[in-house]
Symmetry: C2
Subunit: 402 residues, 2 copies
């Protein structure tokens, strides 16, 4: 990245975040990673997510540290009118607020907009009609658990996919509203419901129209692909490797890599399917599995991966988080996205910056999460002009942490 590079894309943008858990903090962190000054305001002692697992032996939340990288942290007694007034001033000064707290009373858009007429407020809620929802409950309704795994028993994802997706929609919402504000001069409230994020994604991936048009959808396919050919295979060293064929070129490569081109071709005549189409390969998947399994059983995962990759087959060996962190080169500073940071209370760890490389206005390397409340005095002094005497008075009154 050259010295003449422009500042990061969101340089000069300030965002206040009053949040907990995954989605809203990820939304704020995404903006911080794009160069915004994101100030997370928490109650003194931290919000409900401050000690969430995983934690270190000393009880420090690795979860919190990972979802709040590169932000500044302010803590206030948010139950007191004076603490609320200070938070309101910070929001009014920044002009952008992200929250997943109930937006009532002082935190309502109607109140805040009186202090900042062009305020952008991005609010995450559970369901569109005011109900409570979290990733686990939204996921149960989504339909995906019913087709995950090897049988009819519903299986939850381990990745909190709806929270992650919602966090990225939040960032998109803020950026779109900011673009619009620069043109119109006006702010607005932007609402997103976690259950709508799920439902929109289900619709965008075709499941709603599929049920309406075809009457039903697929059942669980284990690790197999739907509508194309793909499967996971056990190798001679008891590992499991995923293979995906999403083009005729891949199909040809799979035959070459395994030396099974002729046997695979026989399946077409055997089952009267056209193996030059994705649908044909999907129909013939059990027979294809049967032909390929013995080959994988004779190969180590490393050998299979090399042969498949050399021939141009899409493949990936399943690994644990431990293997990803300890042995996969992409999870090291060899990957320009990754930086070693000193995370207070956690230690020296690898952390990603945003997975977007801006060639003209590069973003910063990964930054540690703040110590809770560490930026309170600085922010109040620099943003609100609070004096040392006033800080001492606020501290004495319990509005700021002792």
């Amino acid at each position: 990245m050259s010295e003449s590079a422009r500042p990061a894309p969101l340089s000069g943008v300030r965002v206040i975040e009053i949040s907990a858990f995954v989605a809203a903090p990820l939304g704020g962190m995404t903006l911080a990673q794009l160069g915004a000054d994101v100030i997370r305001i928490d109650p003194i002692g931290g919000n409900i997510d401050y000690t969430r697992w995983p934690v270190t032996d000393a009880g420090r939340s690795i979860y919190w540290a990972s979802l709040n990288k590169g932000k500044r942290s302010v803590t206030l007694d948010l139950k007191s009118p004076l603490g609320q007034a200070i938070a309101t001033e910070l929001i009014a000064s920044a002009g952008i607020l992200i929250t997943n707290l109930p937006a009532r009373g002082w935190l309502s858009y109607d109140n805040l907009v009186r202090h900042r007429p062009d305020l952008i407020m991005l609010r995450l809620s559970g369901t569109y009609d005011g109900g409570a929802a979290v990733d686990y409950t939204v996921n149960a309704a989504s339909g995906f658990p019913s087709i995950t795994g090897f049988d009819e028993r519903p299986v939850n994802h381990a990745l909190p996919a709806w929270d992650v997706t919602a966090g990225l929609y939040i960032a998109n919402g803020v950026l779109a509203a900011e673009l619009e504000r620069r043109a119109s001069g006006a702010g607005q409230e932007v609402n997103v419901a976690l259950s709508d994020v799920m439902l929109a994604t289900v619709g965008n991936l075709g499941y709603i129209a599929e049920v309406q048009t075809n009457g039903s959808t697929r059942g669980p396919l284990g690790n197999g692909l739907y509508g194309a050919y793909g499967q996971s295979f056990r190798t001679s060293d008891d590992r499991e490797i995923m293979v995906a064929v999403i083009s005729n070129r891949h199909w040809k490569s799979l035959g070459e890599a395994t030396g099974l081109t002729e046997k695979l071709a026989m399946i077409g005549s055997l089952l009267d399917v056209d193996l030059s189409t994705e649908g044909g390969r999907y129909h013939a998947r059990d027979a294809i599995d049967a032909v390929l399994r013995p080959w994988f059983a004779t190969q180590s995962a490393a050998d299979a991966a090399t042969r498949l990759a050399t021939a141009g087959v899409l493949q990936g060996t399943f690994q644990t988080f431990e293997e990803l962190v300890r042995t996969d080169p992409q999870c090291s500073t060899a990957n320009p996205m990754m930086t070693e940071i000193d995370q207070p209370g956690v230690g020296r760890v690898l952390a990603p910056r945003i997975p977007l490389t801006f060639d003209g206005s590069p973003t910063a390397d990964a930054q540690a999460a703040p110590i809770l409340g560490a930026n309170t005095d600085d922010v109040l002094r620099s943003v609100l002009g609070t004096t040392m005497e006033q800080l001492a008075d606020l501290r004495a009154r319990g509005i700021l942490a002792a």
Copy 2:
């Protein structure tokens, strides 16, 4: 939405998309849903994703229709220099390009920027170092399959979570670069690798730091929560219901809803854990499961859901896609996010707009996907000023579809 509402946030922004599959099309569709004029350019006959499953009985791709809603469609012979020149002119005119095709030759940033000096080009690739990767192979490396499901066997997600996440990062990348361009006047190339999207998410959720700090992470927990209390339960009518406790209030509510407050409290003494902490409840999860299971076995899912919801417990009954579409009110036009559209070749179906509600500059209701190539003449005439005679000539030469 009042008649005096401002136009949608990205009104006036034009984007060219040259793409296939999920991530890049979802990135473009997200911008279209925010109000941008998104023109997808495909080879004549469609790109590799044009017939992807699920399909209708007549072979029309429901997948393609769902991921390209609200775009315009142009088809060109992209292998011919003249087709490439027309695409280049469209890109130069729009000033923003999204692609997941190999950005070589005419489609390279270096070439395109000569035609549009302030071009923003968002390019999705497989891995950061140029390797091939798709959702299935990236997922195998992520670690998540190793903790999904009920045993050590890796289980793939059915939701293409990395593709969805990448699509939303793409939209964020375009919006951030556009904001920066409005300030600096300069464009840039923005790169995102699918494997980096996975790795960044793994890091953001704390798994990398957890392994580095604690030496390991959790194993598979079935449908149980990690670090808190949550579980799925079988009900008397053979359904399965998910319960999540992420606060002390929820824990109290769970006791009240089931009438098991006293028995649950006994577990604290039984196992010497503090049930007023998330970690304590997580440690005691098996005993909590054992106390709760008989209660659920006597309740229908509907009764259990009512009792739990009334008491304030987070809960959700697992349902299939068919149940979601046919019986869940949120998946109907009662939900303001959903619209019935007439999708050419598919029929009348429910479709979502973007799951962000902009109160000041509302976005449009869901729009159908285009018929492949349907906007070619219009776009060439209105954007490039191509004449009817020139269109006829291009058609005669096979640059446009006959």
